[in-house]
């Protein structure tokens, strides 16, 4: 244990290297696939409207990315983030209700589960009728797609507490709100962040498909237009941008996760700061051994 404390600095650096190694494998596989794809398109003489070559997609990205795709991305990102925020708020309220009200758990939860079997995209036209041709129906669709797995993950986390900890807090005369905020919530954090990551990717998907119906802007709208005109190359360019956005959002949530749970993730920045501050501590540990 002492050794671990003392060596944390070098261990951190080594793991940064090994993480670079971790990234090399998937990147290599992706690059090989792109090569095969490129070769197949040229050798089999596949038409661009059926399957464009990766180099053509890249060229399209450079040509129409800044002027055409990025402005549309702005609308989609807004819907994604607003819908995500709405989903988080709804999931928070639902989770607490499910946790503390057995009536809600028995009466309403089955209905929410049942509602998940309805394909959300079929509701899009109705929502447009209700809320008009603006971004609100699309934000709602995004939230509907994203809130459910987040709610389930949060409830699972909040209920994963061992009863002994509750007894212990009760023996300290803790109030119910102290038990929630100082015990249940920290215990649930790993599950909650798992749900937040899934919800982040779902929000991107939700926002995009919501733009297939009754939208006049957004990446989903652009994809629908380009598909109709057989501009397959730009469809793939748009998909590339979407993929990168989704990964960025996922990574951002992952970063927040690491920063908020330093007891699980010792390596990243916050823990590094802590270690530099606590150098005396490591030295003390060595002296003790």
């Amino acid at each position: 244990m002492t050794v671990r404390t003392a060596n944390r600095g070098t261990a951190g650096r080594a793991s940064a290297l090994s993480r670079l190694g971790d990234a090399a494998l998937p990147l290599g596989i992706m690059f090989s696939l792109l090569l095969v794809w490129e070769a197949a398109v040229h050798l089999l003489d596949i038409k661009a409207y059926v399957l464009p070559a990766p180099t053509a997609i890249f060229g399209e990205l450079v040509a129409s990315g800044p002027k055409v795709i990025l402005p549309q991305l702005k609308a989609t990102l807004f819907e994604t983030l607003a819908g995500y925020a709405l989903a988080v708020a709804v999931a928070a309220v639902l989770s607490v209700l499910i946790l503390y009200s057995s009536a809600f758990r028995r009466g309403v939860l089955p209905l929410i589960v049942a509602s998940q079997t309805v394909p959300v995209i079929t509701m899009a036209p109705v929502l447009v009728i209700w809320f008009g041709y603006n971004s609100l129906p699309r934000i709602i669709i995004t939230a509907i797609v994203a809130f459910f797995p987040l709610t389930i993950a949060t409830v699972t986390g909040l209920r994963s507490l061992e009863p002994q900890f509750i007894d212990f807090f009760r023996s300290l005369n803790a109030t119910p709100s102290q038990i929630f905020f100082k015990l249940r919530l920290p215990v649930a954090l790993p599950n909650i962040f798992g749900g937040l990551k899934v919800a982040a990717t779902l929000a991107v998907i939700g926002a995009t498909i919501s733009e297939w119906v009754g939208a006049s802007q957004g990446i989903g709208y652009l994809i629908a237009q380009d598909t109709a005109q057989l501009n397959t190359t730009r469809v793939f360019a748009s998909l590339t941008v979407l993929g990168i956005s989704g990964m960025a959002l996922f990574g951002l949530v992952g970063l927040v996760e690491r920063l908020s749970m330093p007891w699980l993730h010792r390596r990243p920045s916050l823990a590094w700061l802590r270690n530099t501050r606590g150098n005396g501590q490591a030295a003390g540990a060595v002296a003790r051994s």
Partner: protein, 262 residues
């Protein structure tokens, strides 16, 4: 006669099963502790000792009987005594320092003062330099000492210890015994310890109560007449062996066991 710090009288506690009705877990327990006394309760596993502690801690309401602290009834009221459970129950997301100040924090006491006191006590508890470490970095003995420091910082006159050293290896355990006695003397705590270990019970206690399995009753009590200031050497003396024999005899249900040495 000096008045009792903790007075438990006629405690009866049972649980209801579908087929057998009310099954007693604790049946007619009387226990009286003076200030600064150390008393052990020894008995086989699952004999209802933890039920007794949950009642004293106010987590569980008994079917009948009373618990009084300094003459005041505390039945069904948590927060009056400090309770150290079998597992250390350190919160993995809090540093050692944040863990040990949990009691005063939940009670809403001014934290700057409490943290300073905790920092000053870390050395006495062998945790110096670990205030900013997470519990996952601590050894088993260190975790138990952190849990005990957290219990002491609750500032309660009576401390309940439910097999705190059960999971430790024998060597660590022996060190912890000597150290715990020092803490009990220094912080003037009235302690009740639950244990399976006759050596631990005799070494630490002023009195050892031997409990029968479910329902829990006291089969006998062994007053320990070892010097107040004791070190582990005392475990080699004939007096220690005699007390241990008495405890074991009660544990085996021997009716011929003497009630007291002198």
């Amino acid at each position: 006669m000096e008045s009792a710090r903790l007075q438990i009288s006629g405690l009866y506690c049972g649980y209801v099963t579908p087929d057998r009705g009310l099954v007693p877990a604790v049946d007619g327990i009387d226990l009286s502790l003076k200030s600064n006394e150390f008393v052990s309760i020894i008995g086989p596993s699952g004999c209802g000792k933890s039920t007794l502690f949950n009642v004293i801690a106010g987590l569980l309401a008994p079917n009948s009987g009373d618990v009084a602290l300094d003459g005041r009834k505390i039945v069904g009221q948590p927060g009056h005594v400090a309770y150290m459970m079998q597992r250390d129950l350190l919160l993995p997301w809090r540093t050692v320092l944040d863990n040990v100040v949990l009691g005063p924090e939940l009670a809403g006491r001014p934290m700057a003062e409490v943290r300073n006191r905790a920092l000053a006590l870390l050395r006495r508890f062998g945790l110096e330099g670990y205030e900013n470490s997470y519990p996952s970095a601590l050894s088993g003995g260190m975790r138990q000492r952190a849990a005990l420091l957290r219990t002491i910082l609750c500032d309660r006159s009576v401390v309940l210890l439910d097999e705190p050293f059960g999971a430790l290896d024998a060597l660590t355990r022996a060190t912890m015994h000597e150290w715990l006695l020092g803490i009990q003397r220094e912080f003037r705590q009235t302690m009740i310890l639950i244990t399976h270990d006759p050596d631990e019970a005799v070494y630490l206690s002023d009195r050892v109560y031997v409990a029968t399995p479910r329902p829990m009753r006291f089969a006998g009590v062994v007053p320990v007449s070892l010097p107040y200031e004791r070190t582990s050497d005392v475990t080699m003396t004939p007096e220690f062996a005699h007390h241990k024999r008495q405890v074991l005899s009660f544990l085996r249900g021997g009716k011929d066991a003497p009630a007291a040495l002198h």
